[in-house]
């Protein structure tokens, strides 16, 4: 019985042990001056900075600014990306018209638009919103489109044979078949959105966690830099976990662990 439990949690146990080893080594390296803590910081220093910042209203303002940029940029990308991806997949003419634009936008790293966005929208929230949106919307469009295109002909034939209307075909065949692809796009896009926030704030900003990281870096405050990095890491993990949860609810019809 005990052996079974041990076997079941092997991945978690090994993972936790490795993480613990890494953190201990890091802490030791800083304590025994294997490397200068000014450059590498240490887990305990990061923890104490975290505690300090928790009390600091400026920090919470940064968090608010960054999350506003992320949430609205990402939501706007979803609201535009999914319908556009569906339209491009469903209507040939829409694809002919918009395909080239999307290919071009996909080929260029969207953060290169940052200077232009700042020129257009200033160094406040709006330029970041724009870059987050641009970064996230393309992967959502592309994977949604791919989902519609790969819908199997045999299901469409079933719909046609039963005399399903266009609307019914869309709702009963295209949408459910495309859902797994949409989620893939959403997960990928969340990373792109986060990247947009960081790069935008590193480039030019007056507030935000990325801005905080940039300032801390310039002042050699590595503890704060690492804390900021951890914060972004954590956000990324939370978003992908939430998406995975939602996806599971749409995914009951697929065999466990199916790869598509």
């Amino acid at each position: 019985m005990q052996g079974d439990a041990l076997q079941r949690y092997t991945p978690q146990l090994v993972g936790a042990a490795a993480l613990l080893a890494f953190v201990s080594f890091w802490e030791a390296a800083a304590t025994y001056k294997l490397a200068d803590p000014m450059f590498i910081s240490s887990p305990s220093r990061i923890a104490s900075v975290a505690a300090e910042m928790w009390e600091d209203p400026d920090f919470w303002r940064d968090v608010k600014v960054s999350s506003t940029e992320f949430i609205w940029g990402y939501l706007a990308a979803i609201a535009v990306g999914i319908p556009l991806g569906l339209a491009i997949g469903w209507y040939k003419r829409v694809q002919y018209a918009l395909g080239p634009f999307i290919d071009v936008l996909n080929a260029v790293p969207r953060v290169t638009f940052m200077p232009i966005m700042v020129l257009w929208f200033g160094i406040g929230i709006w330029s970041k919103f724009a870059v987050v949106f641009l970064g996230a919307v393309i992967p959502i469009i592309l994977s949604t489109y791919a989902g519609v295109r790969t819908n199997e002909a045999r299901y469409l034939r079933v719909a046609k044979s039963f005399g399903a209307s266009q609307m019914k075909t869309f709702k009963s065949i295209i949408l459910p078949g495309t859902a797994p692809y949409i989620f893939t796009g959403l997960k990928y896009a969340s990373g792109r959105a986060l990247l947009g926030v960081v790069v935008g704030e590193l480039y030019a900003a007056t507030a935000g966690v990325g801005h905080m990281i940039a300032q801390a870096g310039n002042a050699f405050e590595t503890d704060r830099v690492f804390f900021g990095v951890l914060l972004f890491t954590f956000t990324g993990l939370v978003v992908t976990t939430i998406l995975a949860r939602i996806e599971k609810r749409f995914d009951r019809w697929r065999p466990e662990g199916a790869v598509r």
Binding site: R154, R157, S161, F162, W253, R254
Partner: protein, 261 residues
């Protein structure tokens, strides 16, 4: 008796996408199926059996000729015909019950009523207890039962079956053939059944129509004058063997001619 289904000189020509050549798939197919009759079409592979079924369903427009159901010409899918597809083609994101409901939803039957009607057919094909399972949880034979229920629930005048048991293993296939006869006798439907298996065609049908190799033509009508109800034991009956031999040689001659040309 007026026939339920009539095909009159149905031709179908394809244009090959790559070469642009015209290709005749069906050549002046004329046949009729009476009310309540079970008719099979057999023929060598590539003879256009499935293509013909798609024309009858209205999924493919005939190049010339016409399909008449109950005296009316048809050219698109309608609730008077329902197809049992070759690969079950169940919608994987729907449960068994919701798959069976699908056709009813398409013609605007309200959800509650559709469920109630569908449940009756889920039971008829012997799947009660599985109505909330997803297709991936079912065996191939069970998936074909759902496929059959999905067509039957529409209460079609004609059931079009496109090699529904081709992908099943030999035992399951024979079992499903017997089951199909049981259900057919209950449902009392006119059936047009496509298969490449001669024994399957004879066992199930009142009449077997033999198609020739491409382009598909009606080669011969063979009446199966064997009483019903039938059991699998029939497959060892001398009358059964005689019919099997006859149809086999019809198809075989043709296959040889095609292989030589």
């Amino acid at each position: 008796m007026t026939p339920k289904l009539v095909a009159k000189d149905v031709c179908l020509e394809y244009r090959q996408p790559r070469t642009g050549d015209r290709l005749l798939a069906l050549d002046r197919i004329s046949l009729s199926v009476n009310e309540g009759e079970f008719v099979s079409i057999v023929g060598p592979s590539g003879c256009g059996k499935t293509t013909f079924l798609s024309v009858v369903d209205g999924l493919l427009p005939a190049t010339s000729g016409e399909i008449i159901v109950d005296g009316l010409r048809v050219n698109k899918p309608g609730p008077d015909r329902a197809v049992v597809f070759q690969d079950a083609s169940l919608l994987p994101w729907r449960t068994v019950l919701r798959n069976v409901c699908y056709g009813l939803e398409c013609i605007g039957v309200r959800a509650a009523e559709a469920r109630e009607r569908a449940m009756k057919f889920v039971q008829m094909v012997g799947l009660d207890g599985f109505e909330n399972s997803y297709p991936y949880e079912l065996s191939g034979g069970m998936q074909q039962r759902v496929n059959l229920a999905r067509a039957l629930v529409m209460d079609p005048k004609i059931l079009l079956m496109d090699e529904p048991f081709a992908a099943l293993d030999a035992q399951t296939r024979e079992y499903m053939q017997e089951e199909l006869l049981r259900i057919w006798e209950q449902a009392n439907k006119t059936v047009l059944f496509i298969t490449h298996q001669i024994d399957e065609a004879i066992f199930l049908s009142d009449r077997v129509i033999v198609f020739s190799a491409r382009p598909g033509r009606v080669r011969e009508h063979v009446t199966v004058d064997i009483e019903r109800p039938r059991s699998l034991k029939l497959k060892r009956d001398p009358r059964f063997h005689a019919l099997e031999d006859r149809i086999w040689s019809l198809i075989h001659d043709d296959a040889l001619v095609q292989a030589r040309s």
